[in-house]
């Protein structure tokens, strides 16, 4: 385990050196992330101007849910962005083969190969939104609440990563897994708002089937002191379960990996 942490650190340093070589691209990436976030927040603001309360949720409360999903999604964005590109960048070109001839876990190698700096901006925006809304709403930060912020951030990030992993495995068969991943991933858009505003089917879907609810709505509800928020303590177990399934499925898929010619 420490060996993998050491290795991750080394990969990260090399990655940052590479990024410094492409300064223009780095700056453009950061600028685009920030403007995208600004636009999304503006969209929530516009909606909440028209509808001051959404099914009993105030603007700041909705913004906290939104902040949470931004935060957990950014973990996936920073550490596991290569699950999006595995098919196009690694499998199609045969570059994936080199991960398989090295004495480290190929999934680790894939993820460590590219830390995605664009996620950092989202992380900052997400954490800032959660803290700002908690101040505006006068939430008192108790120990369990602080603990929940940490646990839910990590678990929510793992839930995002695990779901992307499960869908990315399809690239071993169809090469380009992006459409499959998108099919599942896009459901997180529901989780930008409180799940209670949706028909029951959708809230069940986002709680028990594609559980993005545990990466946003439930932990936010806990911080807001809503009773349903107690469910959020399940999130580490759900994250661990999904990751277990994802990793086993990944290993299963590797048996079917057939590479590309020559």
């Amino acid at each position: 385990m420490t060996r993998y942490l050491d290795l991750y650190w080394l990969f990260l340093i090399q990655r940052l050196k590479t990024l410094m070589e492409y300064r223009a691209s780095f700056i453009l990436g950061a600028a685009s992330t920030i403007s995208l976030q600004a636009a999304s927040i503006a969209a929530v603001w516009v909606v909440m101007q028209k509808v001051p309360s959404l099914n009993g949720w105030s603007y700041n409360e909705v913004l906290m849910v939104y902040g949470f999903v931004t935060l957990t999604k950014s973990i996936n964005h920073m550490f596991a962005d290569n699950l999006w590109t595995i098919g196009r960048v690694y499998i199609r070109t045969g570059g994936f083969d080199r991960f398989l001839v090295r004495p480290i876990d190929p999934l680790f190698h894939l993820l460590a190969d590219r830390f995605c700096q664009d996620g950092v901006g989202n992380f900052v925006v997400g954490i800032a939104l959660v803290i700002k809304t908690s101040i505006d709403l006068g939430i008192e930060w108790t120990l369990p609440k602080a603990l929940m912020l940490i646990v839910a951030t990590i678990s929510g990030g793992v839930i995002f990563i695990a779901l992307n992993l499960i869908t990315a495995v399809s690239s071993f068969w169809v090469i380009d897994s992006v459409p499959v991943t998108r099919l599942v991933f896009d459901n997180h858009l529901f989780a930008q708002y409180p799940l209670t505003i949706y028909p029951r089917a959708i809230s069940v879907l986002l709680t028990w089937v594609i559980p993005y609810g545990f990466a946003s709505f439930y932990p936010a509800s806990y911080l807001l002191g809503r009773e349903i928020g107690n469910l959020a303590w399940l999130s580490p177990f759900i994250a661990a379960f999904l990751m277990f399934i994802g990793y086993r499925f990944w290993q299963f898929g590797l048996r079917y990996y057939s590479g590309t010619g020559s």
Binding site: T93, V101, R102, P103, I104
Partner: protein, 332 residues
């Protein structure tokens, strides 16, 4: 115990069958049809410690598929592979520690990193003790002339420089078994020579077991005592390189283009007609018995020749002849 043991090894791929045109593409979407293609079929061979074996065959013969099963990248469909007694796919990580791989067509290095940074990272991945790493790196810097390259990112290197870097990256952990998949592809003669020298010295002197796939007979002649030739996924020859050289090295081919349709000419001893097509005549001769000028003048005296060319037998030709049973005929 042999270092590499391959028994009844097979690999099947499912190849989607596509009908032409838009309609075909749509049909393929709803009712895909697959054909099982055997890339490798009932392969058997062993490689002993310290051997450098040439693994050759025409494109699509199954070379790369075999190498990918030996390195643990692909799981065999049937049969078994053992490398140092391990199953390379099931025990991938343990196997990976002992092997070094060069894929001539793709890089193992990080495109944007300076070579030294890639090597540092690879040494860490393989857990090479720092003192040992320093020693090997110093040695490679000299033998592969990497001194001026260490600070250069791989993307700015020429093909030859890249290949030298690849070799350093693949051998920095001093593996017991080395797979070189077309290590000289696309290189000029001088660089080829250098790389062959390095392989001979580095792998030979350290007793590494090497499997080398190539399309270049020169690589084989310089480096290998033994060749395995495969065709259509089967081993068609496994034995000393000398047998092949003796049998085929002395042959040359002349192709004539003739003004009218060629009739089979009378030829001097040691020459035979390989093919007589429309206005084209292909002759093979034994250069220890006859000569190109002799053949040419004999043919020209019998028909009007517009052009002719002389060629050395290439690997594909040899493989084709062996496949057609040329070696068996020799033995009889």
């Amino acid at each position: 115990m042999s270092v590499i043991e391959v028994q009844e090894l097979g690999k099947e791929f499912q190849v989607p069958q596509k009908d032409p045109g838009v309609l075909g593409a749509v049909r393929g979407l709803f009712r895909p049809r697959y054909e099982n293609k055997k890339a490798v079929d009932q392969l058997n061979f062993q490689v002993e410690a310290g051997e450098i074996v040439g693994y050759i065959g025409v494109n699509g013969a199954g070379k790369s598929t075999t190498i990918k099963m030996l390195t643990g990248i692909l799981m065999p469909s049937s049969g078994t592979v053992r490398v140092l007694g391990r199953d390379p796919h099931k025990q991938r990580v343990e196997n990976a520690r002992e092997i070094g791989v060069v894929f001539g067509q793709r890089t193992q290095l990080w495109w944007d990193l300076a070579l030294i940074e890639s090597l540092d990272l690879i040494a860490k991945i393989y857990d090479v003790p720092p003192a040992r790493y320093k020693e090997v790196l110093e040695q490679f810097t000299e033998t592969l002339e990497l001194g001026s390259l260490l600070k250069v990112p791989v993307r700015n290197m020429s093909l030859g420089q890249k290949m030298r870097s690849e070799l350093a990256a693949a051998l920095i952990h001093q593996p017991k078994v080395v797979y070189l998949d077309e290590p000289t592809i696309g290189l000029d003669l001088i660089v080829k020579e250098r790389i062959r020298d390095f392989i001979k010295k580095e792998c030979g002197s350290k007793g590494m077991t090497v499997m080398l796939t190539t399309h270049d007979l020169g690589d084989i002649e310089e480096l290998c005592q033994r060749v395995i030739i495969i065709d259509n996924g089967h081993v068609i020859y496994d034995g000393p390189i000398n047998t092949i050289k003796k049998r085929f090295g002395k042959f040359r081919e002349i192709t004539f283009e003739t003004a009218e349709n060629a009739k089979a000419p009378t030829l001097p001893a040691g020459a035979e007609v390989l093919a007589a097509e429309e206005r084209k005549l292909q002759i093979r001769f034994d250069r220890t018995v006859s000569s190109a000028s002799k053949i040419a003048s004999t043919v020209m005296s019998q028909m009007e020749v517009t052009d002719f060319s002389l060629s050395e037998p290439d690997l594909a030709g040899i493989v084709k002849q062996i496949y057609n049973g040329a070696l068996d005929m020799e033995e009889k």
